[in-house]
């Protein structure tokens, strides 16, 4: 499979040789997962989102015309999906903790999703704090730090993904880093 570069593989998949899609998933699974995790804040939601995103990308691949890089296109889909998922997550968060059974109110069990996450992801204390503080940043700044400092996209690629100007990318990165720096400083990490 590795005798083809990514562009060639995408063309082969579009021509029906879908077995190459596995290589694409392998290449991007962690990036998509990390992005979803940073946005959604828990392992299970991020895992489910990652799978849905790859299925959705597979279905839409016939519409990909190669006008931008595949990775940029993939991130646009990932970003949109996570925005919607986050919105749904917010709506879910206001669901009542009580269920009405006949005429009696029954308390629903509260599942702490943080339990067991350590088994799935190795988290250091610093990592945990950084994750929390990154989560607290406004969306625009969090997203850009994920793309730049975690996924190491170039300024141009980020501008393409987020559909903003290059100078806006730079400004947001600077502001995002400064905000996070201040937050980490307040938590005693700097």
């Amino acid at each position: 499979m590795s005798e083809y570069n990514e562009e060639e593989m995408i063309k082969l998949i579009q021509e029906g040789k879908t077995e190459y899609y596995e290589t694409i998933i392998k290449k991007y699974q962690d990036r998509v997962f990390r992005y979803a995790y940073s946005k959604l804040g828990n392992y299970d939601d991020a895992l489910e989102a990652s799978q849905d995103i790859f299925v959705s990308v597979f279905r839409s691949l016939k519409n990909f015309r190669g006008e931008s890089k595949f990775s940029t296109w993939l991130y646009s889909i990932t970003s949109n999906y996570c925005k919607n998922a986050k919105r749904k997550q917010r709506r879910m968060n206001v669901v009542s903790l009580f269920r009405r059974d006949e005429n009696e109110e029954v308390e629903l069990p509260i599942i702490d999703e943080r339990e067991g996450i350590e088994e799935k992801v190795e988290l250091s204390n610093t990592f945990e704090i950084a994750k929390e503080e990154l989560q607290k940043l406004p969306d625009d700044y969090r997203e850009i730090l994920i793309l730049r400092d975690i996924e190491e996209y170039s300024y141009e690629e980020i501008a393409d993904i987020l559909k903003i100007s290059l100078s806006n990318v730079k400004v947001r990165i600077h502001r995002g880093r400064t905000m996070l720096k201040q937050r980490l400083h307040n938590r005693g990490l700097l």
Partner: protein
């Protein structure tokens, strides 16, 4: 030489330049003052901490890949069975036809994009809206479906539930109560395609927004 104080934004930009060149701050910017050096170090440390997240990964990768591929394959089979085996114009024609027939079956007027002809007007003139369900035993489930689709229950008698709602809600309710899961997907797709290709004038929104009274009965 007078030492220069850089703003945080400048330092952040300098960080990227320095990373790209794998060089030190002092070497590239010899005029930097001590305060700026300290600020720079904090930015450097911040990015370093954020980069720890690069270690995040899916714990059971094999399972993730195989289940994702299975989902992709099943979506491909469905797509192949319906669309891919026929040419695009033929598929579009069939989808338009099926969509039109679906609406016809629901007693909804279908106006074709080209000639604006209301091909179901004769059905509409004597419209009676009935949803025939195969199982009428779980009345609560049916009532809940009506309410979930924005309907209001008017009357309930033996073997007949009368309700009212907007036509759009009636369509989705009828679809949910009578079609299989696969049919629902296909129905949605054909309806979306119809609407997408309609330039928004195929269906009269006035009509779709009308409130109607309909009955839910057991199919014979």
């Amino acid at each position: 030489m007078k030492k220069k104080r850089y703003t945080c934004e400048q330092l952040s930009e300098m960080y990227d330049i320095i990373c790209a060149k794998s060089d030190s701050l002092k070497k590239l910017y010899p005029d930097v003052c001590d305060e700026s050096v300290k600020e720079f170090e904090q930015i450097e440390k911040t990015v370093e901490i954020v980069k720890q997240m690069q270690n995040l990964s899916i714990s059971d990768i094999d399972n993730f890949i195989s289940s994702t591929i299975t989902k992709c394959e099943s979506s491909k089979r469905f797509k192949h069975s319906i669309i891919n085996k026929i040419s695009l114009p033929a598929a579009a024609a069939i989808i338009l036809l099926v969509g039109a027939l679906s609406y016809n079956a629901y007693n909804i007027p279908v106006i074709t994009p080209n000639n604006s002809l209301n091909i179901a007007s004769e059905v509409v003139s004597e419209a009676s809206y009935i949803i025939k369900v195969s199982d009428f035993s779980d009345m609560n489930k049916i009532k809940l479906a009506v309410l979930e689709h924005g309907g209001v229950i008017i009357n309930e008698s033996d073997g007949r539930l009368t309700a009212k709602s907007k036509i759009t809600n009636y369509i989705t309710l009828k679809r949910d109560l009578t079609l299989s899961e696969e049919d629902k997907i296909f129905y949605n797709r054909s309806r979306n395609l119809l609407l997408a290709g309609s330039n928004s004038n195929v269906y009269s929104s006035d009509y779709i927004d009308q409130t109607i009274i309909f009955d839910i009965v057991l199919s014979e």
